[in-house]
């Protein structure tokens, strides 16, 4: 019995470990995943502009979070989210200059502390920083617009791994809805513009979208609570993106999320406050 039960126990504890690792409570799952993408992408295909620039983005992001967290919240913050923001900026921003990496990372983190409504920040930090920079400094800044190599395999691996993680953290419905909507709208755009459907599908096969789909649109802090509304909101993001694309806006996905995400958050906050308000007179009476 003991001879059989020991391996069984080991297997069970191993399974538990894996389950805990892939659980929604593991705050380091997403940072590890994005680090994986960065390391594999850079070692295989040299995706980074430079180590320095990515380093500047990450360090700026972490330092800003540490300082503002300490000053305005009164405690040392968990840095997982700031790390994701920094690394996203490091990958997504393309500029020959150094300053955009620092400014973008700092502005992204600061947006969480400044642009707040009833205690909630309403923009995904890196989406805010990158959109602002792309809009205000187009002569110096562009976004990642290339593939990672010629091979299908890295893309498939990232999609599978990303999907598993997103599914484990219970946000796959957001990614899935967005991808489905993007594909439908791509065919619609192709029909409307006469462009080959492959060219309309093409963007989603690139690495920029992998980061957008797995990290930006699924950010728990800047998505609405209800699962159904999460799907509705992300479908609207895809719709607005399509409209922007029809107007030939190069960075349509970033701008679409920039516009729709906060609007959805504001509506949720407003509805919450409406729900909470009838109780206020009662409390006062009590």
């Amino acid at each position: 019995m003991s001879q059989q039960s020991v391996p069984l126990a080991a297997r069970t504890s191993q399974a538990l470990l894996w389950r805990r690792f892939f659980s929604p409570e593991n705050r380091y799952l997403a940072p590890m995943f994005i680090t994986c993408i960065l390391v594999v992408g850079h070692l295989s295909f040299g995706i980074l502009e430079s180590y320095w620039k990515t380093g500047i983005a990450i360090v700026s992001s972490l330092l800003t979070e540490l300082i503002l967290g300490r000053l305005f919240v009164g405690k040392w913050p968990n840095l997982a989210s700031a790390y994701i923001t920094g690394i996203s900026v490091g990958i997504l921003v393309r500029s020959p200059a150094f300053w955009p990496y620092a400014i973008c990372a700092i502005v992204s983190i600061m947006s969480k502390y400044v642009l707040r409504v009833k205690g909630h920040h309403i923009w995904n930090p890196s989406n805010f920083g990158i959109s602002v920079l792309l809009f205000l400094a187009p002569e110096t800044v562009a976004s990642l617009s290339i593939q990672w190599g010629n091979y299908l395999l890295p893309m498939v691996v990232i999609w599978i791994l990303g999907s598993i993680i997103i599914w484990r953290v219970r946000r796959f419905h957001i990614t899935g809805t967005y991808v489905a909507c993007f594909v439908v709208f791509a065919f619609l755009r192709s029909y409307l513009t006469g462009s080959p459907w492959q060219s309309e599908i093409a963007p989603i096969t690139g690495p920029m979208y992998q980061l957008f789909i797995f990290f930006m649109i699924t950010d728990p802090k800047t998505t609405v609570r209800s699962k159904l509304w999460q799907c509705v909101v992300v479908a609207i993001v895809a719709l607005v993106e399509m409209i922007l694309r029809l107007s030939q806006v190069v960075y349509a996905p970033f701008y679409a999320l920039f516009l729709v995400g906060p609007a959805a958050m504001l509506i949720q906050i407003w509805m919450d406050s409406r729900r909470a308000s009838p109780a206020a007179p009662l409390r006062a009476a009590a």
Partner: protein
């Protein structure tokens, strides 16, 4: 903990300032740009020491490049596929001591031109009578570039013509005409080439040549077997044309030895240049590739070794379209300039200025990209560039031309281009998946850059100020003292545009010398000879080139500006044979003809 209103307000102010900081930076850049306004000739001369005047028509040159019409399955993206072929190379084909100009066109049946220098400020097209005009016959492909080298050491420069099609070699018959010797030389039936150069890679005194393929050589762009002929990646493509290294066997025949010599690559080569970067006496080979990293091959005299990654030039992939060398800090070391693409808000690759890293040399040579620090990074959709001392102040300046497809001014193709560029290889490698251009421009009507070297590590753009105001789709740039006046004039070949000749006027206080070399033990063209001029405690090195920039070849003789010096201490020549020769205190403001001592 700071939770009070003042702290929040302070945070908001800092945040707003940071958000708006790109606008302040843009404002600063705009102020600097205001200094680029056009000046009249006298003011430009006083302020910058030179001005350029476009004189092609007055010089009798009315050449307009024409683009090819490829397979109709490419019609929807024809302007961007048929976007190269305007090339210019300088040669003194008749040995009269005056530089002539050979220029290519790319329309099927159209004729290339050889402009003979008439010594009176004008040129006459003699290509037809010389037998090198009608080289774009249907079925043979069309011209993409030409480089000159005296492969049989008879004293007359021979012509290597590269095409998207059959490459051709023409023997120069003592300046009286040309004989096609392609078949005897053993050239392959078809290469879709965009770059070639002459060099004596093995130091045997006979010029060899390199050809870099762009599209794969099994693609006939007029009769496509498949539309899957586009690059399979925008930054990692390896489905381009192969590379060729033709070793000169000495009897008018050449042997293709690239594989044996260690040059194996299917990247999309657009520009190549060779120079002795390590002081070994052997020319190293730099290749700028479109859709990928640059390649640097160290040459030990027999074998080439890929040193791209270890030197730092071969890691970050861009869209290399130019390779030129220049000793820009007068240190006796070459910087390498590679042009790429920059388009506001879409793609900011930035051009590369590869400077040798301090403390590295020889086989440990490493480069760092200092284009931003030197101010030569952003040049639009950049193509050909050349280093040369345009104002004779003793420092090499940089002329860059640019612009990809200029069609409808109000509609642009960038959105569609960026959409497809981000896609996976299976999508982008097939031309049929590309959205139609429908007459839209892609980085069209761009202003050019003439960067003046201030000697302290900064280049200042003075293009508009000195008279370079054209906005054609520039491709090839060649620098040449067209009228033996001791100044570098600029010849620019434009895609679907006119050949421009910018005549240079330089302040007379600045001195110069030019060195025209003739090899004896070395190849007679002296390609690969290195000349170092010492004056006023400074030195500047230049090497005789067999082709550099993009689809271009500068004049054979070397031009050195000297500033207001009263004498040159010495000119040291290191011949490809290894011999060194010193000219003590050569006279200023003269062309020095030097023959290799036996």
């Amino acid at each position: 903990m700071m939770r009070g209103l003042p702290a929040r307000i302070a945070l908001a102010i800092v945040f707003a300032a940071l958000v708006l900081s790109p606008l302040f930076i843009k404002q600063l850049a705009a102020r600097r740009a205001e200094a680029k306004t056009r000046l009249n000739a006298e003011t430009a001369l006083a302020r910058h020491g030179f001005y350029l005047q476009e004189v092609s028509r007055a010089a009798g040159v009315n050449f307009v490049h024409q683009a090819p019409t490829l397979d109709q399955r490419l019609n929807h993206i024809m302007p961007q596929v048929a976007s190269m072929g305007a090339a210019v190379s300088i040669v003194d084909f008749d040995r009269d001591g005056w530089p002539d100009i050979y220029v290519t066109t790319s329309k099927e049946g159209a004729k290339n031109a050889l402009y003979r220098n008439m010594h009176d400020g004008t040129f006459k097209d003699v290509a037809e009578e010389m037998g090198i005009a009608d080289v774009n016959r249907p079925g043979t492909g069309v011209s993409m570039g030409a480089v000159w080298g005296d492969y049989d050491n008879d004293g007359y420069e021979d012509l290597l013509l590269i095409k998207w099609g059959k490459p051709e070699l023409f023997h120069n018959d003592a300046g009286h005409g040309f004989t096609r010797v392609t078949d005897q030389a053993g050239l392959p039936p078809w290469i879709n080439a965009n770059t070639a150069l002459w060099f004596d890679y093995d130091g045997d005194g006979l010029l060899d040549f390199f050809i870099g393929g762009y599209y794969s050589e099994d693609v006939d762009l007029w009769h496509l077997k498949t539309t899957k002929m586009m690059p399979d990646s925008f930054e990692y493509a390896k489905n381009g044309g192969r590379k060729y290294l033709f070793h000169n066997l000495g009897n008018g025949r050449f042997q293709e030895v690239s594989d044996k010599a260690g040059i194996n690559s299917r990247r999309w080569a657009l520009a190549a240049a060779a120079a002795d970067l390590r002081g070994t006496g052997h020319p190293d080979l730099f290749i700028a590739n479109d859709y990928g990293v640059s390649e640097l091959y160290f040459n030990d005299g027999k074998q080439f070794h890929d040193a791209g990654e270890e030197t730092g030039v071969g890691f970050a992939p861009k869209s290399g379209m130019n390779a030129s060398f220049g000793d820009i800090l007068n240190q006796g070391r070459y910087a390498v300039y590679v042009s790429n693409i920059s388009e506001d808000g879409v793609l900011i690759q930035g051009n590369n200025l590869w400077m040798p890293r301090e403390g590295t040399s020889g086989n440990n040579l490493q480069y760092e990209n200092l284009a931003r620090d030197f101010g030569v990074e952003l040049g639009g959709w950049s193509f050909g560039a050349q280093f040369g001392d345009l104002n004779n102040d003793g420092l090499l300046d940089l002329y860059l031309t640019n612009g990809y497809v200029s069609l409808d001014r109000d509609r642009d193709y960038w959105y569609d281009f960026s959409k497809i560029a981000g896609g996976h290889s299976t999508i982008i490698s097939d031309a049929k998946n590309w959205p139609a251009m429908e007459g839209r421009s892609l980085s069209g009507y761009q202003t050019k850059h003439v960067w003046l070297n201030d000697g302290s590590g900064k280049f200042i753009d003075v293009a508009q100020a000195v008279g370079v105001t054209d906005t054609y789709d520039g491709r090839a740039v060649a620098l040449v003292d067209l009228w033996n006046r001791g100044v570098l004039d600029v010849v620019v070949a434009n895609q679907r545009g006119p050949l421009l000749i910018y005549k240079n006027t330089v302040t007379p206080e600045n001195k110069w010398i030019e060195v025209a070399l003739e090899g004896t033990a070395s190849n007679r063209s002296a390609i690969g000879a290195e000349v170092t001029v010492f004056w006023n405690g400074q030195q500047q090195v230049q090497e005789v080139s067999g082709g550099c920039g993009f689809a271009a070849q500068n004049q054979r003789r070397l031009h050195f500006g000297l500033g207001t010096t009263s004498q040159v201490d010495a000119v040291v020549i290191r011949w490809p044979s290894g011999k060194t020769q010193t000219l003590e205190k050569p006279a200023l403001d003269e062309i020095h003809k030097v023959k290799e001592p036996s």
